[in-house]
């Protein structure tokens, strides 16, 4: 670029043999492409260092130290925080509950999302309208959706209980959040409502990547709709299904808002998830060290899970 611009050098000394002009030595260091690249990347680097790497190191250190929420002695106490975590009477129940919730949500959510994607994939009239309607709950935040469903489920003023009563299905107002099982199922219902449209979008992308010719060839061969779905749609959709699975499992294992707002962990601590336990250790038991140890355990487990799932994802992508 500099070769074209300055004609001055050749004007000043026309006798000099023409070298290809090298821009580098004449450019000040701060204007070199390397330096400019570094400058443009600097904000990202600062952010990643201060708000990601530093907290990562800190959570490790905290997990090995006595760390009361308010002022207090902050010496090392390894591995006391970790044994505190595993000795907590809520630890194993919370893990069991989180896993149960994750399996339930994943199966129901991805099943419904696949149905929705199949319903709106073709360019039928109104397909776009239905896509928008199914996605709308996705634009509402999870906390807002939880507050909404909290009103919906209310035994006194909520409409669901009244609908069931007027249909004669129940005699008394239903307390949707009152028993451990119904509290779990009610929360799953909320999460499915909120996220089905989101996963529908991911699966739509996958469906649209399947070439039309494959379907046409199958139809010419006389395959039934069921056969086409089983032996073409499902296998070719595997990368999108795997991505949905990864996001859904990771998201569900970290569930917090919906339980904090809808059930507060109740009834009888039956719906306490792992992340809620972190919150309770830190801000109810005022022990940041134990909360940090629990964070490290969750972090390690999810890292392992992500690595395993990424491998599966890649394999699905190759096939």
């Amino acid at each position: 670029m500099q070769v074209k611009a300055p004609g001055r050098a050749t004007h000043a000394s026309p006798a000099r043999p023409e070298h290809p002009v090298r821009p580098r030595p004449t450019t000040p260091l701060w204007r070199s492409r390397t330096a400019q690249g570094l400058a443009y990347a600097a904000p990202t680097a600062v952010f990643v260092a201060v708000f990601f790497l530093l907290p990562l190191l800190l959570v490790g250190q905290m997990s090995l130290s006595d760390w009361p929420l308010l002022a207090g002695d902050r010496g090392g106490n390894a591995p006391e925080n970790y044994t505190d975590v595993t000795d907590s009477p809520l630890f194993w129940p919370a893990i069991r509950f989180t896993l149960l919730y994750t399996v339930l949500v994943t199966v129901v959510l991805l099943g419904l999302a696949l149905l929705l994607a199949l319903l709106v994939q073709e360019s039928r009239p109104a397909a776009g309208f239905f896509r928008t309607v199914y996605f709308l709950p996705g634009a509402v935040g999870l906390a807002s959706a939880s507050l909404l469903f909290w009103g919906l489920y209310s035994p006194t003023t909520g409409p669901l209980s009244r609908i069931l009563e007027s249909l004669g299905l129940v005699d008394d107002p239903v307390s949707f959040l009152g028993s451990p099982t119904s509290a779990l199922l009610s929360t799953v219902f909320l999460v499915v409502w909120k996220f089905a449209g989101f996963y529908m979008l991911i699966l739509l992308v996958g469906l649209q990547r399947i070439p039309h010719e494959v379907y046409e060839a199958a139809r010419t061969d006389g395959a039934s709709r069921g056969q086409i779905f089983r032996s073409i749609t499902l296998p070719l959709l595997r990368p999108s299904l795997a991505l949905s699975l990864l996001l859904c499992v990771t998201g569900s294992l970290l569930a917090f808002d919906q339980f904090f707002i809808l059930t507060k962990g109740g009834p009888d601590n039956s719906t306490v998830t792992i992340v809620q336990l972190i919150y309770r250790e830190a801000f109810q038991r005022l022990d940041l060290g134990t909360a940090a140890a629990l964070s490290i355990i969750v972090l390690g487990a999810l890292l392992l899970l992500n690595v395993l799932q990424f491998r599966g994802l890649r394999r699905a992508d190759e096939s």
């Binding site: 390397t34 400019q36 690249g37 570094l38 400058a39 443009y40 990347a41 600097a42 990202t44 952010f47 990643v48 201060v50 708000f51 990601f52 530093l54 907290p55 800190l58 959570v59 905290m62 760390w67 319903l119 039928r124 239905f130 309607v133 199914y134 996605f135 709308l136 709950p137 634009a139 509402v140 935040g141 999870l142 906390a143 507050l147 909290w150 009103g151 919906l152 209310s154 003023t157 409409p159 409502w193 979008l201 990547r209 999108s240 991505l243 970290l254 917090f256 808002d257 904090f260 707002i261 992340v275 830190a282 940041l288 909360a291 940090a292 969750v298 972090l299 999810l302 890292l303 992500n306």
Partner: protein
């Protein structure tokens, strides 16, 4: 023709039935927020009594709306700024540590948000940003960075190099080329990133719950959740329902307005993901 229409009918019954199920909670909540209910400010007839309760609740609805707007605006601005520069750097420049930094930025995705909030709580305290809307916005922006940086990098890579080179030849610096030539070209990417950041910041609950201790500084989701939890015994469903409407309407409007960008950006992300 008639046959084909009849053939589609079951499809429309299923799709329509599901559409009703998906819309019902939103419609019910909106209707309930203006309907009469015992134990609310809207005891008889239809009206905005519940919204008036919300206006006067604790620090007041305007304060909470202002907090939420400030946090969202700052998060969007920081996310756009950092990812614009970062995306440019990763797409167009060669510098030591480039790939490592890019992978490290993506690695933020691998670490669950909730597990970093405990150390961030301590860290923000040390730099005097705890219980501050600025600190909250910075934290929210960090967790937008993986998607935003990725999105801006592919946006810049999609712009032909010649466009930028001709600007450089005409005497622009790289900053000038970025501002005058590249910025318009990557606008769709910026809109997508901004929209994602807005929805995430406006709706986030756990970060303000942990990082904000002063109810004056609570964003709207936290304030509405508190409204429900603080009322001992008597629960004001009406005011909560009004709060949900105030929370949801901006999201639904923004989504409906920018739907095309959202879906497109989402799809390009999902394709590579």
């Amino acid at each position: 023709m008639l046959n084909r229409a009849l053939g589609r009918t079951p499809h429309y019954i299923v799709a329509g039935g599901l559409a009703v199920l998906f819309l019902f909670p939103l419609l019910w909540n909106t209707w309930a927020s203006v309907s009469p209910q015992p134990g609310t400010a809207q005891q008889s007839g239809y009206g905005l009594g519940n919204y008036r309760t919300l206006l006067d609740y604790d620090a007041g609805l305007w304060r909470y709306l202002l907090n939420s707007t400030a946090v969202s605006a700052l998060t969007v601005a920081v996310t756009l700024g950092v990812s614009l520069l970062g995306g440019y750097a990763f797409a167009r420049f060669d510098f030591p540590g480039r790939n490592a930094l890019f992978l490290l930025t993506l690695a933020i995705l691998m670490v669950p948000y909730a597990t970093l909030l405990i150390p961030l709580y301590v860290l923000l305290d040390r730099i005097h940003l705890q219980n501050s809307l600025v600190g909250l916005s910075l934290v929210l922006a960090v967790f937008q960075l993986p998607f935003a940086t990725f999105m801006m990098r592919i946006s810049f890579e999609a712009v032909p190099r010649e466009l930028e080179e001709s600007a450089l030849v005409d005497g622009c610096g790289t900053a000038g080329a970025l501002r005058r030539v590249l910025l318009p070209a990557v606008r769709p990417g910026l809109i997508t990133v901004g929209l994602f950041a807005f929805l995430a910041a406006w709706n986030d609950f756990i970060a303000p719950l942990i990082l904000i201790s002063d109810s004056e500084k609570a964003p709207l989701p936290l304030a509405v959740a508190n409204l429900r939890q603080q009322s001992m015994g008597a629960v004001d469903y009406g005011a909560t329902e009004a709060g949900v409407v105030v929370l949801a309407v901006p999201c639904l409007l923004v989504f409906l307005l920018l739907q095309r960008h959202y879906v497109r950006g989402f799809m390009s992300g999902a394709l590579k993901g």
